[in-house]
Amino acid sequence: MTPLIILGLVASVFLLFLILQVWWRSRGNELALAAQLTPVDLEAFENLTDPEEESYLRHNLSPAEFRSVQRIRIRVAKMYIAAISKNASALAFVGQSARAHSDPEIAATGQNLVQQAIRLKVWCVLSATRLNAALAFPTVLSPSSAIASRYLAVKYMAASLPGKSAA
C-alpha cells in the first residue's frame, strides 16, 4: 500500500505544479520578468574577481583578515552574478522578440542573442556554484571573472539591435 500512497502523493504534487504553471502564465508573469534590466557595473565586478587584486590582498593581509575580506568580496560578486543572471533572462526575451522580426538580419541577431543569453544564464549558474564553494574555502578557490566578458558580448549584441531596427 505504501508505494501506492507515494505514487498518489507524487501525482498530486505534479498536478498542483501544472495548475501553478497555468495560473502563473495566465497572469502574464513571463512578461513582467523581462520588463526590467538591472544595471551592472562590470568594472567593479571584474575588480572583485581579479586574480591580481586577490593576490595583492593575500600578500598584504593576515590569513584571517584575507579570509574575512575575501568572503565579503565573494558575497558581493554573488549579488552581481544574480543581477547578470536576471538580465540574461531579459536579454533572452529581447532576442525572442527580435527573432520574430520581419527583417531577416534582425531575426538572425535575435536568434543569436537568445542562444548567447541562455549560455550566459547557464554560466551564471556555474559561477554561482563556484562562488558558493569559494565562500566555504576562500583561500583555496578563487572566483572567476570570465563571465564578465561573456556578459559584455551578449549586451553588445542586444545593444546592436536598435541600429538594425532603424536601418
Binding site: 505514487l7 501544472l18 504553471q21 502564465r25 557595473d41 526575451f93 529581447v94
Partner: protein, 252 residues
Amino acid sequence: MNFPHLIWFYRYLWIGPHVLLLAVATAMFRKGQHRHFPIFFSYLIFEFVMCCILWPMAYFRAPVEIYWRFDLLDRAGDIALRFGILQELFESSAAGSAPWYRNVARMRNRVTVLLVILASVVFAALYSSSLNHAFFANYAIIEAFNVAQCGLIVLLLLWHRFLGLRMSPFAFGIAVGMGLAMGLEPFQIMLRYSVPARMGMIVDMMNMAAYHGAVVVWFYFAQAREKVPSDSTAALPQLIEQAADMGRIAHL
C-alpha cells in the same frame, strides 16, 4: 457492477476525444504547426488510428490476448512518441539549434535515464506480486516510463522558467495536456487497487475523462492566437534602450 445508464457516456469518452484529435490535427495543419511539431502531429494521427483498431476490437469482443497485444502496441507507441514530443518541446526554443546545446541535450538524456530507473524501482515495488506475469511486467514498464515523462514535463517547464524563455502557447498547451493525461494515471492505478474490481468501469471512465480534458486543452491551444509576441514587441524598444544604456554604463 454494471452501469447500463453510463454505457453511452463510456462509449463517448472512448470515441469522442479521438475524434477531437482529428480536429486538433486539422487546426495544426491549417496554422502550419505540423511543421514545428511533426512528432506531436504524428502522435495525434497514431492515437486516432489505434482507436480505430482498438475500439471495434473491444466492441466486437475480440480475443483478449489479441486485444492486449494491440493495447500494448498502442501504449508502447504512445510512450515512444511522447519522448519525441518532449524532445521537440525542449528544442522548440531558439537555443535548440545551438551547437553547445547538444551538451545540455546529453545531460537531459541522462536525467531521463535516471528518472526511468527511479520510476522503475517504484513500479517494481508496486507490481512486485504480479511481475512474474508477462502482461503485468509490460504494464509496469509502461507506467514507469509514464511517470518518468511526468518528471520531464516538470523539467521542461522549469527549464523555460529558469532561462526566462517564453514557450509558444501551443508548446505550452501540449505540455499541459500531456501532463494532465499522464499525471492522472497514477490516481487510476491507486483507485484500481483500492476499489472493488466491479468498479473498474468507473476508474476507466475517470482515466478517459482525463484524456478528454487533455485533448480539449490541445484543441484550445491549437486554436489560440499567439498574443504574447505583440506584447513583447511593444516591450522590445524599451528593453533595447535599457540594454544600450547598460552598454554605456559598462563603457562598451
